[in-house]
Subunit: 330 residues, 2 copies
């Protein structure tokens, strides 16, 4: 049924060993023989069985990618970037979705570990300690958490950009609508804001932690309004939309009364009724860079010990931010 290396060998009139060499170590066979083998392989439609190769070489040519939620546009973009880069190096990608459940992450890692050369973990929900305790036997590159080998976005700088933008528009009191307490991105963003605020002469008012959902923003809106800030930076775009939705219901104009800055720059942000000013995370690049790092570790050109790569982020100004109200109302 399947055409094997033996079929090619027979067709080319050489031994299987020679076929194998012609394909994977071209300089170890005579040029003329190689030609003959390649022609034969082409003719009979030979495609190597990677599983069989992997059995002996110990390398599968596959990598695994675990994300919390494929339906979240942020992760979808990361997967897309990682996937595209993997194919450039002839790796195939197993994708697994944990459905935001921390518990299944170690299970999935273990389940995949035997069939991949390395693992990519995006925004793990499992604690760093528990993660370290999982013995997969394969290299792991983490995204969005500063551990061992990882790729992260420069959240601190992103927050500085956002705050500088608002400060330049005259905002003196700025709220921060936080994400989950356990999110390390959230911690980095808050820290970045706290560092930048004094330099910019802005008073930062953290508004607490909210679930990273539309509903989280809806819940935060009234708190933001009551606080009297003229601008809010929000943990992510989806939450920002929830916030703005409730603002509309309350008769609060964006950006007339309150300016709003999101994080991520998901596709929806550009298409919304009030296009959202946001700190664009390099989603595709994050996936690509993590894949690059993993591949470098796999071929030994990088030591996994303590490599942290940071990607730049940039503010995209759209229509949800405007100069601060001068006369204080309310």
């Amino acid at each position: 049924m399947a055409v094997t290396i033996r079929d090619v060998a027979l067709t080319a009139g050489v031994s299987p060993s020679t076929v194998s060499r012609a394909l994977s170590a071209p300089d170890r066979v005579n040029a003329a023989t190689r030609e003959r083998v390649l022609a034969a392989a082409q003719r009979v439609g030979y495609r190597p069985n990677r599983a069989a190769r992997g059995l002996i070489t110990g390398r599968t040519g596959n990598v695994g990618l675990i994300v919390p939620d494929l339906a979240n546009p942020y992760f979808a973009s990361v997967v897309k970037g990682a996937q595209a880069r993997a194919r450039e190096s002839d790796y195939a990608v197993f994708v697994a979705d944990t459905d935001e459940e921390a518990g299944v992450e170690p299970d999935l890692m273990l389940a995949l570990s035997k069939q991949v050369d390395g693992l990519l973990l995006c925004s793990p929900r499992t604690s760093t300690e528990e993660l370290a305790a999982v013995d997969t036997g394969t290299p792991i590159v983490v995204m969005n958490r500063r551990v061992s080998p990882c790729v992260v976005a420069d959240n601190g700088d992103g927050m500085r950009q956002a705050l500088a933008h608002l400060a330049a528009l005259g905002h003196r009191a700025v709220g921060y609508v936080g994400g989950p307490r356990t999110s390390s991105s959230n911690a980095e963003r808050l820290a970045g804001l706290e560092t930048a605020a004094p330099d910019l002469g802005v008073e930062l008012r953290p508004m607490g932690n909210f679930p990273p959902l539309f509903e989280g923003g809806v819940a935060a809106a009234d708190i933001v309004i009551a606080s009297g800030v003229t601008a809010a930076i929000v943990h992510n775009d989806i939450v920002a939309f929830g916030l703005m939705s409730r603002f509309v219901a309350r008769g609060v104009a964006v950006p007339g009364d309150v300016s709003v800055v999101g994080c991520d720059d998901i596709a929806m942000s550009a298409m919304a009724h009030t296009p959202l000013t946001t700190v664009a995370m390099p989603k595709n690049e994050l996936g690509r860079a993590a894949m690059v790092l993993l591949i470098e570790i796999l071929n030994g050109s990088v030591q996994p010990h303590s490599v942290v790569r940071e990607l730049p982020v940039r503010l995209i100004v759209r229509e949800s931010t405007a100069p601060a109200r001068t006369e204080e109302r309310r």
Copy 2:
């Protein structure tokens, strides 16, 4: 390094064959022995090498899933559904993204074919003939195109629901903003509308074909306005948002002046400034159902010849549709 079946055999004091049987054919070994083997496997942390197993059984335990664009929320949901269902049956999923390029579909199919038991193809961009010419040697289930074994949504019924809704609101002239000419969903939707319109006493006005992007909707908007229809059904939600965005710029109120119905029900539709009435496609279910069908074909319980499964769709009424204007303006 890796713990093999031999290590388990040694630990349990049996031969490798017995270990193999204890794990994959439990009733072929003595209950007590089985217990001992299982305990040993547990103790040494044995995890079978699926590649090795696949080599002899001819089954890899993997399936491939090819989509045009992971960053498109529609496909992301399909992948999520398929992936979740696959894991329930202990299949791992290779995901590949063609970046909307028809040419790479056959390449990817061929590249994956050797490492999977079957392939899932979502909304292929390649023609049915070219697809049939690709000899992967594995079963293929297609989504969103009525061919050989496939799973599709009941587009015709969805359009009937949408049109009935608009007719009930008093709309007598309804536009259809079409998707790509080559899209089979588009053809089915148009056909469904053409069938339903006479029965509902509605005049259907096809507005032409537009790219399935925000910009496509922007481009369609002026045509819709000029046509004088009081409602438009749009090929997908993204296009509908483009349409409504341009409506705002033109001072056309939704749903005051024109009602808009989308297709797909992507997450954004519920969160938009004007929440969109839309025909919800069963995205997750589509992925799940296709995976189920593939698995059934793989285990032989279904013959792949001419099985077409159709999933129901349903209209979700939000705020972008309202009764037709009674007095004719413009």
